[in-house]
Structures are given as structure tokens and as C-alpha cells.
């Protein structure tokens, strides 16, 4: 028997080798510190702040008790308690008390972790579920996430058990989603589909002819250097129409793709879901102001390629630049069945009736693009039957089932005659159904379950399948029912574990859902099976391998989606009247999201110091973003690393357009909202919630008063200022950025101010005015002041350790699916110590986290 007496008597317990640990007693009256400074207010009679230090609820080894004491610890440490007007302890006295309390709490917390685990069991979230099915079935473009209800969120992420609930609806959705995925995995037909390249000429695409609109929304047939009025196209000579003349034929367009000028290569629709290679031939052009004469393009033009599925579901597939000379651009993409291809010359005007001005047109003419043809090669398979099919049915013989009538709703209007959808269904034939069922089920379960499959589990699902077969279902349907059951079973959906150190298999799962947001691959599984994964050097090597793999994009995207709230990037759009220059600019918003994702990737792959979150001397840009930021010399749609000028206001995460957009509402910016975002997400100081029923201070777009003036009134009230002084300064510094992160020195207004001439991306003449100047100076709570965002960033950078600490905490919550615990703080400190030499390199932080006790314990 071992008797453990914690020095500090509030929380003491004993442990025996045969009995679970429990809290024994509390000897409050023996603690002079509490008696002297605290109990006067926090007692049974007064209960200031609803706290009675002598209550029975202050004793006991429960999470609630621990939380209560942890918050007492924090309030005392942050000098918030005892209150300023009360008797104050000497610094030494405070220090001794805190360190005693802290070590008690750590010990209690650790004890709890040992009994219940740091993380509770949880189900997969919808992203993990989708990534898991994609990996297991070798279907990288399977879409099942949409079947499942949105996941709950706790501590900022969709990874924590307490927020990942299940209802009868969720269950019904699992049945649907798994059934859908299984059918998508099956071979659509018995013979391998023809994948020879087929060329679709622009002149043959009905949907590339847009007529009856004002000139800038028309499409124009081109033959060589000739350009035709759309309606007069019938006048083309026979020579121009012959197949030999194909090279000279093209369709010109001077606007981007937007209703009703919705151009599509619609005589192609993906016959089956799968991988395709798309090639596009075309070039940029310049036309005379009346669009009657054609010249060589003056710039390159960005082209975005979307898939298009009725009713109005667009998915970005990629992008490239058309050059002044004809080139062929290639993309390898995954298409869903029935999807067609929608190219979009994204820079060109996107007008909304009744405004049809073109901001890119001048007396000299206007830019446009010419599409010649699209070539499709695919569906491409590495093997046949497809790998996904073999996961389910190995190589058992197949027969075609009668092709079901296609759903008319899935076919774009005007294209119904050309329907060449072949996506059918196949039936698997088994000569020895019972043996095959048992064999396939074993194969399948060992493939999809993350650990070894006990015999009784095999029997459970095999017997179910056989029972279904006996009830008269076909072999295929019986197997699919059995597989559905496996994919909806708790052993598949839940991450369970026993308290203590993770087994190697569990470690493989945790690591993989951390750095890939999906299941472990063969290499990880083999290392786990051999009990080698936990070895520090093996773990480090695997971490490196995983971070280098393209699959780590799933980690980066989903981590940023939650950490920085980037998943809300499209929650609001730029106000049409105030920001016509941003209106309908999809390329800009897509690019800003990609910037942040690639920036974070760059920090990881180059192990750059964590202060790059605050500031850096480079940015990840393409031409659209560079224009947005006022940086010259960047051409094309590809995002690449660009060194920034010395005095640039950009650099770091905080001045990226994505961060600035998710912290604004499309119409106005609020220093409060941005400031809180910076403090919470970047600095790790979550501000308290605003008092109830106090309406937010909202900016006024009439140009009469600035938000600074409105806030000044608010801040003059001491109870408001107590918190506002902490987060407002960050927001003030960022006030030099508008709702989409463009730099500004004056607020736009719809009332007072100076008129500005111009035409928006949306074809609308500017009606906004430039009003009050922006005041972006400020003062931190400690009195240090800054003149602009550059100086502010330098001040913030001095607190680099806090930035690192916050990033560690965010990554740990994401990676372990558990909140930060009181006892974690010493481990976080250890990671900080270990990575200080790399200036807290982001990759080094990830390595240190993976090796930390926090990560390798349940």
C-alpha cells in the first residue's frame, strides 16, 4: 500500500494498489491564505460570485471541483483576486500559495486522466467519415459529407466527443451515406469504359452561344481573324464550317461566366464518376470597342474551370491562364456522374441587369478570351474492375443490370437529347454464395476496421449477410447490406480507447486523423502491428512523411477551417453599393482561401518560426491577390511565394485577405470583432462574453460618424473599457483594411464624402463616396502605442511565446479531440522549451506535440 499525501491539504487523497484513488478530505481551516484573503467574502453566508470556499462541493475529485479550483488559481495568479480594494498578500505569499495549489491540481488532474483518459470516446465527424470512405474505397472524390448533419463544435473544433452527438436522424443518414458510398464503389458496367480522348469543339456547343443580350454579355464566333456578330453567324460560308477549318474556329467572350451567359462544354457529361484528363485550347484576345475587329491579346487571362451539375451545383476543379497565343492547358480532375464543364474567364466583367458597363473597356477596346475546344480523356482506371469494386467483391464475375432511366433533373436543360450517360449497375455472381460471403466479409472488415477483427465480430456480420441471403435477397444486395451494417457499426464510427498510453494501433489512428484527417495507410498500420510506431525516432520519421504527403492538405484545410474560422469565408459577400469592385469576384475569394492554406503549408514545410503568424517577409500570392494587395510583378493564377518589400503592410496571417474577410460582414468592419478574433484565435486570450442584451456597436454607412467615434463613447464607460482595452487595439490596427482586406485610408460611405469615378467588377458605376479618414493608431493595455499596422505587428511579435503557446493548444485540441487540461500547462511549457531553438518552428511544434504525453495518451 502506498500512501500519498499531497502537501496542500485542500485536495488530498490516498491511493492503494487495489482500490481506486479517491479524494479524502479538505482541511480548509488550516489554510491561512484562504482564511486571510478569501473566506471573508466567499463563505456560506455571502457567497460572492456564487463561491463558498467551505462548501462540500469544493471537495471531491470531480471535473467540476477541479475546474472551480483551476479558475480560483487563475484569478489569483492574474491578480484579479483578491480585489484591489481588499487586503493584498505579499508577492511571496501569493507565489507560495499558487505553487502549492498548482501542484495539487496537477496531481489531481493527472489522477483523473489516468482513470478516465484525457480524451473521451467520440464518433468521426463528417469530414473524417468522408475522408475515411475515400481512402478505404480508393475514391478520392466521393461526396458523402453532405448526407450527414453538421457536426457540433467544442473548444473551437469539430473533434471533441462531447459535441459529436448522434440522433436517429444521424443514424438514418449513416445508412444512406454508406449505401451511397458502397454503390459508388461498384463497377458501373461489366466492361471497362472507353477512355479514348474525345474533342469537343467550341463551335459545336450550343451553350457557348449566348445571344439576345447587351453586347458585353454576348458570345462571338471567331474564324481566324474574323469575328462575327452572333446573330449573323448563319452567314458563315461553307468553307468556314468544314472540319478542316477547325483550327481557326473559336468562340470569343468578353464577360465571365454568369447568369444568363452560362457557357458550358455541355455536349460532354461525365458518363460515370471517375478520374478524367481535361485539355483546353484557347487564347486571350483584344477587340475593337465595337467588337468587330480582333487583335492579339494584351495580357494573359485567368480561366477557372468548374464542374456543373443541375440544379446549380458548381465545384471548382482548377484553373490556368490563357496566353495571347493558342495553348493547350491540361487538368486532371475527378468528376461525378452527369457533371459537365463550365469554364469561366474570371477576370472579365460579371454584370447584373440593368447595368452593363465594362470596367475593362476603354477607347482602345476591350479584353476577352477565345475557347477553341475541350478534349476529354477518361474515365481513367489503373485497373479493372476498379480498385474500389475489388474492395467489396474482389474479382468475382459481373453481369450488367438493366440501366435505370436517367433522372431528368440531373441533365442540364437543352442537353437532354445528347444524353450519353452510361452509369449503370452491375450484379456480382457467386457460384458458392456462403463461402464467398464469409471470405469477402472477412476481407472487407479487416480492411475497414482500424484494429484487429475478433472472430465474434466477423461472425456477427457474416451471419447477418447469410440471413439476408436466406431471406431471398440477391448475393450483391446481401453483401451490400452486410457492408452497410459494418460502416454504421459503433466500432467503425467511434474512436474508443482505454485510459493510459495509446497502443501502437491507437497511436497510428490518432496520428493519422491528426495529420491526414483520415485513416492510417499501410505503412502506418504495419509499423503499428510491429509495435514500432511509438519509438520516438519512428514517430518522428512518420510525422515527417505524413506532413510531406499530399494527404496532409486535409489536415491543413480542416484545421484552418476551424482555427481561423475560414469555413465561414462565404458567410457574407461584399456589399454591392459600397464595394462594387469586389462584387461577384469569385477568383478573389477562392485565391484568398488558397493563400492562407498554402501559407500555412509553407510554414510547416520550411519549419518557419511561429512569429510568421504575425509577420513575415514573404507572402503566397497569385496575380489576383497581388493586385488586391498592390504588389506588382506577379502574373497568372498559380499561387507562389513572393518576397515582400521591406515596408509592406502584408506578411503574416493577420493581414491576409481571408482573415480580414471572415472578421467583417461584407458591408462594414468592426474593430471589436476583429480584435476579439485576434486575441482569441492568435493570442489565445479568449475575451469574456459581452453583457447580455447590450446591442453591438454597429458602424453607420452614411458617413456621419466613424466606428472609432462610436466606440470611444462605449469605452468611456469603465465597465465596458475593462475588456475593450484588451481587444480593441488589435481591431484598430486592422481598420486600415476593408471588408475584403483591401488597404484603405478612408471609409467608404453612401452619404457624405467625395465621389469616386469607376465601374465595378459587376458592371455597376461607383455610387459610393470616400468619407471619413481611417484612424488606425492605437495603444495596447500596457501603454505601448502604435502608429499603424506595421508597428502593431512588431509589438505583437514580442509576445511570440504566447503565440506559440496558443498554436500548440489549438493543435493539441485538434489532434487529440480533448480540451486543454490544467495539468497540460507544464507539458506545453516543455514543448516551448524544446522548440525555442528553432524560434518555435511550426513543423518543430508539430513534432514536439506528437511526442508529448498529451498526444500519446488516451
Amino acid at each position: 500500500m502506498r500512501f500519498l499525501r499531497i502537501q496542500f491539504a485542500i485536495l488530498a487523497w490516498f491511493a492503494t494498489s487495489f482500490c481506486c484513488d479517491r479524494l479524502l478530505l479538505a482541511q480548509l481551516d488550516s489554510k491561512p491564505f484562504l482564511d486571510r484573503y478569501c473566506v471573508e467574502c466567499h463563505n456560506a453566508d455571502q457567497q460572492e460570485g456564487k463561491l463558498d470556499l467551505k462548501a462540500a462541493s469544493m471537495i471531491g475529485q470531480t471535473p467540476e471541483t477541479l475546474n472551480r479550483w483551476a479558475s480560483i488559481h487563475d484569478r489569483i495568479r492574474q491578480m484579479e483576486m483578491p480585489p484591489k480594494d481588499s487586503l493584498q498578500p505579499a508577492p511571496d505569499e501569493r507565489g507560495v500559495f499558487l505553487s502549492e495549489l498548482s501542484s495539487s491540481l496537477v496531481a489531481v488532474d493527472q489522477q483523473m486522466i489516468n482513470t478516465t483518459g484525457r480524451a473521451s470516446s467520440r464518433r468521426m465527424n463528417r469530414f473524417e467519415y468522408e475522408n475515411t470512405l475515400r481512402a478505404l474505397f480508393h475514391l478520392p472524390d466521393l461526396h458523402v459529407r453532405e448526407f450527414l448533419p453538421e457536426d457540433g463544435e467544442a473548444f473551437g473544433f469539430n473533434k471533441v466527443g462531447s459535441a459529436l452527438n448522434v440522433s436517429h436522424v444521424q443514424m438514418a443518414r449513416y445508412l444512406q451515406a454508406s449505401d451511397f458510398a458502397l454503390r459508388a464503389a461498384m463497377a458501373p458496367q461489366t466492361i471497362r469504359p472507353d477512355s479514348k480522348p474525345v474533342r469537343y469543339f467550341a463551335w459545336d456547343q450550343r451553350s457557348l452561344f449566348a445571344g439576345d443580350y447587351p453586347k458585353i454579355r454576348l458570345t462571338f464566333p471567331i474564324f481566324g481573324e474574323q469575328i462575327f456578330e452572333h446573330r449573323k453567324w448563319r452567314e458563315c460560308t461553307d468553307e468556314e464550317r468544314t472540319p478542316d477549318s477547325r483550327d481557326k474556329q473559336a468562340i470569343a467572350i468578353f464577360c465571365s461566366t454568369f447568369e444568363p451567359t452560362e457557357i458550358r462544354f455541355s455536349s460532354f457529361r461525365a458518363p460515370v464518376a471517375g478520374r478524367y484528363r481535361l485539355r483546353f485550347a484557347g487564347y486571350s484576345i483584344w477587340a475593337s470597342p465595337d467588337c468587330t475587329k480582333l487583335f492579339e491579346g494584351r495580357t494573359t487571362e485567368p480561366i477557372s474551370i468548374y464542374s456543373d451539375r443541375a440544379p446549380v451545383v458548381y465545384r471548382k476543379l482548377g484553373g490556368f491562364d490563357f496566353q495571347p497565343q493558342s495553348t493547350v492547358q491540361e487538368l486532371e480532375v475527378h468528376l461525378g456522374v452527369g457533371e459537365t464543364i463550365r469554364p469561366d474567364a474570371a477576370r472579365l466583367v460579371r454584370s447584373r441587369p440593368p447595368d452593363h458597363k465594362n470596367p475593362l473597356a476603354s477607347d482602345e477596346g476591350l479584353p476577352g478570351v477565345a475557347f477553341q475546344w475541350m478534349e476529354v480523356e477518361g474515365p481513367l482506371y489503373d485497373e479493372w474492375p476498379p480498385a474500389s469494386h475489388q474492395v467489396l467483391f474482389d474479382t468475382l464475375p459481373l453481369v450488367d443490370k438493366p440501366t435505370p432511366k436517367p433522372d431528368e433533373r440531373l441533365i442540364p436543360r437543352g442537353d437532354r437529347r445528347r444524353n450519353r450517360i452510361v452509369a449503370g449497375e452491375t450484379e456480382v455472381i457467386s457460384a458458392a454464395a456462403e463461402q464467398d460471403a464469409a471470405r469477402l466479409m472477412k476481407r472487407f472488415m479487416e480492411h475497414v476496421y482500424r484494429g484487429p477483427v475478433p472472430q465474434e465480430e466477423l461472425d456477427r456480420f457474416t451471419n447477418f449477410t447469410l440471413k439476408t441471403l436466406a431471406a431471398g435477397e440477391t448475393f450483391t444486395e446481401s453483401m451490400l447490406s452486410g457492408y452497410t451494417a459494418v460502416l454504421c457499426s459503433p466500432s467503425f464510427l467511434y474512436f474508443n480507447g482505454t485510459p493510459g498510453r495509446l497502443t501502437d494501433r491507437a497511436l497510428a489512428v490518432r496520428l493519422s486523423y491528426f495529420l491526414w484527417n483520415g485513416p492510417p495507410d499501410k505503412e502506418l498500420r504495419e509499423l503499428a502491428d510491429a509495435d514500432k510506431l511509438h519509438l520516438p525516432e519512428v514517430l518522428a520519421a512518420q510525422t515527417n512523411r505524413m506532413l510531406t504527403s499530399p494527404r496532409s492538405q486535409q489536415f491543413i484545410d480542416s484545421f484552418l477551417d476551424y482555427w481561423l474560422e475560414l469555413r465561414h469565408i462565404n458567410a457574407t459577400s461584399a456589399d454591392v453599393s459600397l464595394y462594387p469592385d469586389y462584387d461577384l469576384d469569385d477568383l478573389l475569394v477562392e485565391s484568398m482561401l488558397a493563400e492562407t492554406q498554402q501559407y500555412f503549408r509553407e510554414l510547416i514545410s520550411k519549419d518557419l518560426p511561429v512569429d510568421c503568424l504575425i509577420d513575415s517577409n514573404f507572402a503566397m500570392l497569385n496575380e489576383r491577390l497581388a493586385n488586391h494587395y498592390g504588389i506588382a510583378g506577379v502574373k497568372g493564377v498559380a499561387i507562389r511565394r513572393v518576397e515582400l518589400p521591406e515596408d509592406s503592410i502584408r506578411g503574416g496571417l493577420l493581414t491576409q485577405a481571408s482573415s480580414l474577410k471572415v472578421t467583417a460582414n461584407g458591408t462594414t468592419t468592426s474593430p471589436v470583432k476583429r480584435g476579439v478574433w485576434v486575441m482569441d484565435h492568435i493570442m489565445g486570450h479568449k475575451p469574456p462574453l459581452p453583457p447580455e442584451a447590450v446591442p453591438a456597436v454597429e458602424p453607420d454607412t452614411r458617413g456621419a460618424t466613424t466606428i472609432r467615434e462610436q466606440l470611444a463613447k462605449h469605452r468611456s464607460i469603465e465597465s465596458c473599457n475593462a475588456c475593450h482595452k484588451n481587444f480593441d487595439p488589435a481591431g484598430f490596427a486592422l481598420e486600415c483594411f476593408d471588408v475584403l482586406g483591401g488597404y484603405r485610408t478612408k471609409y467608404r460611405s453612401l452619404g457624405a464624402g467625395d465621389a469616386i469615378k469607376g465601374i465595378g467588377h459587376n458592371g455597376v458605376r461607383y455610387r459610393f463616396r470616400e468619407g471619413q479618414p481611417v484612424d488606425f493608431t492605437g495603444e495596447l493595455p500596457d501603454g505601448r502605442s502604435f502608429a499603424d499596422v506595421r508597428q502593431w505587428k512588431q509589438l505583437l511579435k514580442k509576445d511570440v511565446e504566447q503565440v506559440a503557446k496558443n498554436l500548440i493548444q489549438q493543435l493539441v485540441v485538434y489532434g487529440t479531440g480533448a480540451k486543454m487540461r490544467f495539468s497540460d500547462s507544464q507539458r506545453v511549457e516543455a514543448i516551448l522549451d524544446a522548440t525555442k531553438g528553432t524560434n518555435y518552428g511550426v513543423r518543430s511544434l508539430i513534432h514536439a506535440i506528437v511526442q508529448s504525453e498529451m498526444f500519446v495518451q488516451q
Binding site: 482513470t115 478516465t116 483518459g117 470516446s121 464518433r123 453532405e146 448533419p149 453538421e150 457540433g152 463544435e153 467544442a154 473548444f155 466527443g161 459535441a163 452527438n165 448522434v166 440522433s167 436517429h168 436522424v169 444521424q170 443514424m171 438514418a172 443518414r173 445508412l175 444512406q176 449505401d179 454503390r183 441587369p353 465474434e456 465480430e457 456477427r460 440471413k467 439476408t468 435477397e473 447490406s481 452497410t484 451494417a485 454504421c488 457499426s489 459503433p490 466500432s491 467511434y494 474508443n496 458567410a571 457574407t572 456589399d575 454591392v576 453599393s577 460582414n665 461584407g666 458591408t667 462574453l689 447580455e692 442584451a693 446591442p695 454597429e698 453607420d700 454607412t701 452614411r702 453612401l750
Partner: protein, 428 residues
Amino acid sequence: MESVNRRKFLKAAGVALSLPSLEAMRPAMARHSDEKQVPRRMLAICNNLGLLPGEFFPTGSGRDYTLSPYLEILKQHRNDFTVFSGVWHPDVDGGHPADNCFLTAAPHPARGGFSNTISLDQFIAERIGHLTRFPSLNLGVNPMQGQRSLSWTSSGVLIPCEESASTVFRQLFVSGTAQEEKKQIRRLQLGQSILDVVADQAKDLQKSLGANDRDRLDQYFGSVRELEQRMAASRAWEERPRPKVEVPEPVDPANNRAYMEKVRLMYDLARLAFETDSTRSVALLLDSVNSPAINIESMELSDGYHNLSHHGKSEAKLAQLKEIDRSHMRLLDQLFSDLRGVKEDGVSLLDRTMVLYGSNLGDADRHVTTNLPILFAGGGFRHGQHLEFDRVHNYPLPNLFVSMLQRMGIEVDRFASSTGTMRGLEMA
């Protein structure tokens, strides 16, 4: 996936619908010993961009109040509705996400670690859903799927909105072929047996888990059982014929701009569902936030609905918003008239149907979740009044929910953050 399969599962989940006309149901209901009361129904509508407060709220209180410009449009029904001011869902803050709490009143929807709670329509469905083919209907106009809904389960999970009126209509009134129905029944049987297998595994797993983890698995187990029961109920309904209605199947507008047309279709559908006693509980989310520049008869709008709501006091935007709001009021006027026109046991359907119309935002321009615009009509209350509460310290709206539940014959004395029943509102 086969459409049949999907529909059946949706239906099994209580999301979709189905059945016999009121009169045909009467004897069947009489067999239920717990059903002695007249049928009471609820239609709860939330427009998540609200209404311009200055145009909506009336002046004067009690029965002698003066109609506001918006309420003037509803004046023929003055004695059939009560208008509230100075009410809110306590602690439901956070701006837009508060629409998810319109029928749940779960506090702080924007806070980390937030979990929603059961919505009023589901609360009703759980208790009296067995009386109709569909326990509840959850409808939406332009809903941001997967993100927004009025309807939530008790474990805080979102129930998706059905946004196609024609789909709902078919589920309500059109039977499949005999072969199709047999196939559906087989599907449901198969579904139930899949659930049996996974439930067995859950039971076995529970033995090896700690207390915390067992809670998570209990939830799974409960969900499986609940779905099984619903599948069993669906199978029972499958053998009974659907009610016949004399109206053609609605045509879904292809474009989200046809917002008002979609609202009208959903109002018609809700009335038809009540008229045929296919369900007693309908929730309808008008997701204005997620709507584009919508079509309004009288004018062309310059901006998307959401952008307009951030009018920043711009006169041009305010004029357009007023026109939108007036269209809403006209549709509501038509709905009240239509419900008034249908008789059941000699009583008008409006007198048996509570219509709750309102918003999670008191002022969309500023994202304020206090001073909500709330209109409450029909259902057997003494209406014709303006119940005015403190504009600074608002009165809890969940008290209205308690009054509504009690009117439905459900014995409860609290819902979410209620403090009692609605002060000043009496049953007729």
C-alpha cells in the same frame, strides 16, 4: 442510391411525410384512449432576417392598440392574432446563428461548445406524432442545408429542411405502385435488421467501456432504437392508403429568386397537410439570409436579401426591404384567410391551428436578438391584442411555447428558459 430507399429513410427519420383525411381518421383516432381532445396543430415560421421594426410594431397596447403599417395589411384578421413586443429568447445571442434556436431557445448559439436542444416542433412530434402519418414536417425556403434548421432533436442534432414542395406533396398524397411499396417495406425490414446488428455490437461494446465512454455509446444505442421504432411505424402506415386531394401537384420554382412563390407554396402545403390531418406539427424556416436578390412583383431589387438587410439606413435599401416585408404580410394574410376557409367538425381550421410567425432577429441591420417581432394567430386563443413588454428588459418568449404546448393538450409547465405561461394570453 435508389431514390425509394432515400425517401424511405428520410421518412423513417420523421423528416418526411404521409395520410388519410380528417374525417377518415376520426374513428381511428377515437380508438386511441389518449386522444379525446379536438386536434390542435402548430405552424411555426421563422423569417431569419425579420421585419423592419419601425414598420411592424404597433402603438398602444391591449385591445385598443393601433395597427402598424404592416399589421394594417392583416386588418381583416385583427381578432385572430396577437402581436407581441418586448419579447426575446433569454441569452440567445450571437446574431444569425440564433435562427437555429428560434424553436429551441437554447442559449448562446455562437459560443464554443454550444449544443442545441429540442425544438418545439420535435417536442410536439415526440408526444403526439403517433396520431398522424407524419410526426412532423420540417420545411424550408432556400435553406442553407446542413447549417440551418428550425428543427432539432433532443440531443441537439439538426433535422434538415425539406425544400421541395412537390416532393413533400408526393409524399403526402401520392402512393407508389404496389410493387414499389412492397419494395419499400422490404427496404424498411432490411433497415431494421441492419439496426439490430449494430445495436447488438453497441451493447457488447458497452461492457468494456468506462463511464464517460458508455454515455457516448448510450446515445448511439438510443438513436438506433429510436430509428427502429420509426421504421416500424412507417411500415404500419405503408399499408394504409394516402388521402386524396383535389389540387394539382405544385411545381417547384427552379430559381431561388422565386422566394415569395416558394413561401406561398409552403403555406399551401402546410394547410393541405393540416386539412388532411397528415401531421400536427410543421416548422418552416424562411432562410432569407441564404437568399439571392429575390423577385418582388412591384420592383426590381438591387441587392441580395441579406445585403439589403444590412441597410445601414440607406433609403434605397429600406424602400426595397419594406416592399419585401409587405409581400410577406400579404402572403400571411392569404394563409390566415385560407385556414379560416376550411371547416373541420364545423370549426374553422384557423381556430385549431396555431400560427407562430416571427424572427430570431429584432433588427437584422444590427444583428440584435432582442425585441423580436412576433405574431401569433389562431389555435383557440383570445386574440385581438398587442401584448407589450419592456423593451429594455425583455420578457421570455419560451413562455409562449408553454402556452402553445398546453393548448395542444400536452401536460408541461416549462420549455427551455420559460418562467411560466405567456402573461396576458388566454385560451378561448
